[in-house]
């Protein structure tokens, strides 16, 4: 059996990380399934013991979510409505056992096209904080997720936090997941929506992301643009048409065909927008 280290502080973890080839592990819910019938390919660097990476903090710029925050902790944390979608996603990742261990950072670093957290965080304009012995850097999440199982993480880096900008106005968000059964299901398609309105109920920011329809979750800029300036009580679903899906490149796989994914994405987008419009205060 390989070496295993579980440092209690980030500095030690970064030292170790810089000094060798490690398999980083947090909740282990992606790492262990990849090792069925096999032994660990590399020594394990377990970062789940670093308490500092498990905090939720409100900062001047917004929110800082520790990379080792577990989905259950996020799910059960009281947060403003901006986070409703993310928290809903948290409650739909695997079953309770998974949510109790799996982390936000693991979801992003594993970079599955069907990562629910990636879509939800992308819609929130999240940035990732990466640290190494060499220092600290920040990247927009969209630049961190490079493709199927590919990220911008350097071999000596750890993802330490996810930074979510504060909303300026009244924010609402939602997350719609489509799977072929009720629990423990990987999304065929999922849609994350964030809308911010001003005091007059006019949409000033829209973040809409679709997952499982491209190598990584994708934002839909055209749709977002169409939504800006509309009133929240308008029938927003009208803004959705096939054209807004341009950034997507779904494939046929065991969970569904590409054509189906497009169709379902449109349906989920319409439903999501309708739902948010009615959830908005001041909406009809």
């Amino acid at each position: 059996m390989h070496r295993y280290e579980r440092p209690k502080d980030l500095e030690t973890a970064l030292d170790l990380r810089a000094g060798g080839e490690w398999q980083v592990i947090a909740g282990g819910t992606d790492v262990f399934p990849a090792m069925v019938g096999r032994v660990a390919p590399r020594p394990l660097l377990d970062i789940s013991g670093i308490e500092a990476l498990r905090r939720i903090e409100e900062t001047a710029a917004g929110w800082r979510l520790g990379a080792c925050l577990r989905w259950s902790e996020l799910r059960d944390h009281s947060l403003p409505p901006l986070f409703d979608g993310l928290r809903k996603a948290a409650g739909m990742i695997g079953g309770r056992q998974i949510q109790n261990r799996a982390t936000l950072g693991g979801n992003l670093c594993n970079a599955s096209p069907a990562a629910d957290g990636a879509a939800a965080l992308l819609a929130l304009d999240a940035r990732v904080e990466l640290r190494s012995r060499r220092g600290r850097r920040e990247l927009p999440l969209a630049e961190f997720l490079l493709g199927n199982r590919r990220t911008a993480l350097a071999p000596d880096e750890l993802l330490t936090a996810i930074l979510v900008p504060a909303s300026r106005g009244e924010a609402r968000s939602d997350f719609l997941k489509l799977g072929a059964r009720k629990y423990l299901v990987i999304s065929i398609v999922m849609v994350a929506l964030v809308l911010e309105g001003d005091a007059q109920g006019v949409i000033r920011r829209a973040g809409i992301a679709v997952g499982a329809c491209a190598p990584t979750a994708r934002r839909l800029p055209l749709l977002e643009e169409r939504l800006l300036g509309r009133r929240l009580d308008e029938p927003l679903a009208e803004a959705v048409d096939g054209g807004v899906l341009a950034p997507l490149s779904p494939i046929d796989d065991i969970r569904g065909t590409a054509a189906y994914r497009r169709e379902a994405a449109l349906v989920l987008l319409r439903r999501g927008l309708e739902g948010l419009a009615t959830a908005m205060p001041g909406a009809a």
Partner: protein
């Protein structure tokens, strides 16, 4: 270093120091270092939840948690749930309500539920569902688990154990060991010095291979003591269900015919064997173009899978009665349908596992199985020794559903233990289990039926091709059973039902709950709806008009006796059918894109083997100290035979269930009770148990010189026989005991009376049939193509419910599998060999089920009882599909009806206008 210091934590309240590597999975540490095998491993990937334990009070998957993460924490396993000497209230609720069947998911379910009950003492049903959502159960359909968790949460007293034998809701006799984690499944027991065996399997559907320098490979892996290839098999390198079809090699020779086929076996220390990367084993593959699917196999230039099977046709089946052309010609209404189904995986939560030990010129195999006596024959032939030298010790079986009727680990373990003369164990990983085990046959069916103006069926024409995969397995059974059932349980003047079993390079398709009949039922139940609609008749009434009744002749020419209660099933459902249809008519079919529909479907199922002798023998002994032992060779795969055999024997004997213990399955100590398949154990072994009980009773009465109505009572070593107030005491301890310690024995054998089928399938294929009708209410999201089953009603002709709780459990579990078959289950070799991508229903996918047991008694059944294992599943998928058709106006013909398929079908219907 932490490694040397060990990892300290509280394990079930006791401080412990674990010495395993801290990166090791907690599940393995619990099982191997601490011997706590109550924590089960079904996948090692977080997908099944069988390994659920509590860490600091929250449920986690022990298979995904490295030991190092529990340092300083509190770990609770199922072994820690019980109090000092009594199971917890939750465990007792599971027992009382029959929430554990095979029991492999039970520890995980208990732990998940206990997390919830600690956090929320009064949970709502929705909260229970959420809490259990991460644990899969393949047996129960989850309903009784939900009920048990809710019952445990309340203050209501738990139901008391009922008195009596046949008809009583007795707690399963093997229940206590299942809810406490003591039950030993295939992976739970092995001699401590056992070597480990690991099979290397083909990554290709079809390929030739050569094996390179194994000596050099072994030199690099000193812990590997032996590498077995086909050349090492001492006896016949082939097995299979039929005596003339031993076409499946234990280890492939030169060519592999399906993905997952084993080619060699590594045997060595567990560490060495586990450390091997399959890539470094010197096997050179030459992939060949595979024959995948029925069309490819039947193509004129298709490569032939097996010699002597031209056209890749394994077998054909046929039943013909009357002139079907004429009968269809005379029909007022006609309907035709073509349906296609997929490979379906059994997905028992317990993967194949066991160990073998050589004892001189004998071999012992402990393994998870449904058929110990067939295993014995196969192992003997593979070793080239007589069957008497083979002893099969069935483990507790963590689910079978037909998939553990074929041998799996048994022959290769026996070969390894035989050659190395050391105990050898193996546990298949989930991907191995899914790649290598048998599947439900994909079927391609064309069927046509006609009815006259009065709504009477005139003729049925049916043809089904079944993809039997690379090896014969149970293919012939499917090909023969389907034509006998393909008309559905209806009177029909003329029928022509034909089948073919076709070899392909798919996984071997074998036995799976219903042997092809569930696939056929999808077709005949679609036809029944279509005909009823064309005649303007009510769909249920149309079935009622045609339902087989006592005295009718089947299309095999068999005259049915009593014990045919389909009419009663349909009549029981009729008021509900009317009410629900009226409700739909009144309240509408749903809002927005949602559409509701109600479907009904019937089935029949011949119990036991088709036109074949399939006897069972049971023995019961009474010992000098007044204990009864049932020598029960029928394997309990969760369905409850270990309980009902005792209930039946106790009823016949006239002594209480409490006085019994059992010897289960051990081929050295029990007699052949056949295999646990074809829903035959209640009928066939149940009769044997009854006759054994009667035989012992007769001997006792003779000894006491008492008449048949005398009452028996055991008082320690004294047996009291009371007749008309006169008491006679038999002092058992004075009688001479045999080797087992028995002073009296009874034995019973029973074989269902059948007659061979002629070339046109005319004869008496089965002695008794089960019947059922089910209704499904579904809601389809017509924009997303998703289907939710909202409720199921199930009326089953069970003859007599020996134990109503167990019967309900079978029905609920069968329905859950039927929902999976209809909506989500499709195995694609190489694509979804895990429980992450291969979906089976979770607790949230099985709706409320309302069960109606029809107990009119079967003249042949023990106390009127007959089997229900397979009948439970068969009508569900057809009822769901019929409901979808009603909800959407589009009849799905490709199963499973996944969201993308349904949406495509709806779109196609729209463009057709």
């Amino acid at each position: 270093m932490e490694e040397r210091a060990g990892v300290r934590f509280l394990l079930n309240g006791r401080p412990v120091v674990a010495r395993s590597a801290p990166g090791e999975r907690l599940s393995r540490v619990l099982r191997e270092e601490f011997g706590l095998t109550g924590t089960k491993v079904g996948c090692d990937a977080g997908d099944c939840g069988a390994c659920t334990v509590l860490l600091d009070g929250t449920q986690i998957c022990a298979c995904l948690t490295p030991l190092g993460q529990v340092a300083g924490g509190r770990v609770t396993t199922v072994e820690g749930l019980a109090g000092e000497d009594a199971p917890s209230r939750l465990q007792r609720a599971f027992l009382a309500l029959g929430a554990a069947q095979c029991g492999i998911c039970t520890p995980g379910m208990l732990m998940a539920a206990s997390e919830l009950l600690r956090q929320r003492p009064r949970p709502t049903p929705a909260e229970v569902e959420e809490a259990l959502g991460g644990v899969l159960c393949r047996c129960t359909g989850y309903r009784k688990i939900m009920e048990a968790a809710l019952l445990a949460a309340g203050d209501a007293p738990l139901p008391a154990e009922p008195a009596g034998a046949v008809g009583a809701r007795r707690t399963r006799l093997d229940g206590p060991e299942k809810v406490t984690g003591r039950a030993a499944f295939g992976a739970d027991r092995a001699p401590p010095e056992a070597l480990e065996l690991r099979l290397l399997r083909s990554p290709h559907h079809r390929a030739r291979f050569t094996i390179g320098d194994l000596d050099a490979f072994r030199a690099r892996h000193p812990g590997i003591l032996r590498i077995l290839t086909a050349a090492d098999i001492p006896g016949r390198n082939g097995y299979g269900i039929y005596p003339d079809l031993k076409d499946q090699p234990v280890l492939a020779e030169k060519e592999v015919r399906h993905r997952g086929e084993p080619v060699l076996a590594l045997v060595g220390t567990p560490e060495a064997v586990r450390a091997v990367d399959p890539e470094e084993v010197p096997i050179v593959w030459e992939p060949l173009p595979p024959v995948l699917g029925i069309d490819a196999a039947l193509a004129p230039d298709a490569p032939l899978l097996h010699p002597g099977r031209p056209g890749n046709v394994l077998i054909e089946g046929r039943v013909r009665r009357g002139d079907v052309e004429a009968a269809l010609g005379e029909a007022t209404a006609r309907a035709a349908i073509a349906v296609e189904t997929s490979f379906v995986e059994h997905a028992y939560i317990e993967p194949e596992a066991g160990y073998a030990v050589r004892r001189g010129d004998r071999i012992e195999v402990f393994a998870t199985t449904q058929a110990p006596y067939m295993d014995r024959e196969e192992v003997a032939a593979v070793l080239g020794i007589p069957p008497e030298k083979v002893r099969i010790l069935p483990s507790v079986c963590g689910g079978g559903f037909g998939g553990k009727l074929d041998v799996s680990v048994q022959p290769i373990l026996a070969v390894a233990a035989w050659l190395l003369d050391r105990p050898v164990r193996t546990v298949w990983s989930r991907p191995e289990s899914m790649a290598a085990s048998t599947k439900r046959h994909p079927a391609r069916i064309r069927a046509e039926a006609g009815a006259d103006a009065e709504g009477r069926l005139t003729g049925v024409r049916f043809h089904g091709d079944f993809d039997t995969g690379a090896y014969a397995s149970w293919g012939p059974t499917v090909a023969q059973r389907v034509p006998v059932h393909a008309t559905g349980p209806y009177r029909v003047r003329a029928a022509l039902c034909t089948t073919r079993g076709v070899y392909t390079n798919g996984p071997p398709a074998g036995a799976f709950r219903g042997f092809g009949v569930p696939q056929a039922a999808i077709a005949h139940e679609a036809l029944m709806d279509m005909l009823a609609d064309r005649l303007g008749m009510d769909r249920l009434d149309f079935r009622l008009r045609n339902a087989l009744r006592p005295g009718d002749r089947t299309h095999c020419g068999q005259e049915l006796g009593e014990g045919v209660a389909l009419v009663a099933c349909l009549e029981r459902l009729r008021p509900i059918w009317r009410r629900e249809r009226e409700r739909l008519a009144r309240d509408g079919r749903g809002e927005g894109p949602l559409r509701r529909g109600l479907g009904v479907a019937c089935m029949w199922y011949g119990l036991g083997n088709t036109s074949m002798s399939n006897p069972s023998t049971m023995e019961v002994g009474l010992s000098a100290d007044g204990r009864l032992t049932l020598y029960n060779g029928a394997v309990d795969i969760g369905q409850g035979s270990a309980t009902i055999m005792v209930q039946i024997c106790a009823e016949a004997l006239g002594l209480p269930v409490e006085s019994f213990t059992q010897v289960l399955g051990d081929t050295a100590r029990t007699r052949d009770a056949g295999k646990t398949s074809a829903s035959r154990q209640t009928l066939v072994s149940g009769n044997a148990a009854r006759l054994a009980g009667l035989d012992l009773r007769r001997r006792i009465l003779r000894l006491a010189n008492a008449g048949p109505d005398a009452e028996l009572a055991l008082d320690g070593p004294v047996l009291r026989v009371t007749e008309n107030g006169r008491v006679r005491e038999i002092e058992l301890f004075r009688l001479t005991a045999d080797a087992d310690g028995e002073v009296l024995r009874g034995i019973g054998s029973w074989d269902p009376p059948t007659e061979p089928l002629d070339a046109d399938g005319q004869g008496v294929p089965y002695a008794a049939y089960g019947f059922a009708a089910q209704m499904a209410l579904v809601e389809v999201d017509t924009e997303l193509g998703t289907t939710r089953v909202l409720r199921i009603w199930a009326a089953h002709d069970v003859g007599r419910a020996v134990n109503p709780t167990l019967v309900e459990g079978q029905i609920e579990g069968g329905i859950a599998q039927g929902i999976g078959l209809a909506l989500m289950e499709e195995f694609v070799p190489g694509r979804n060999e895990n429980l992450h991508d291969y979906l089976i229903p979770t607790v949230g996918d099985v709706p409320e089920i309302e069960i109606h047991l029809i107990e009119e008694g079967d003249p042949l059944g023990p106390y009127g009882a007959k089997g229900v294992g397979e009948p439970a599943l068969i009508p569900t998928a057809p009822a769901v599909l019929n409901a979808i058709a009603e909800a959407t106006g589009v009849r799905p013909t490709r199963v499973p009806v996944t969201p993308d398929r349904l949406l495509a079908a709806l779109a196609a219907a729209k463009t057709r206008g």
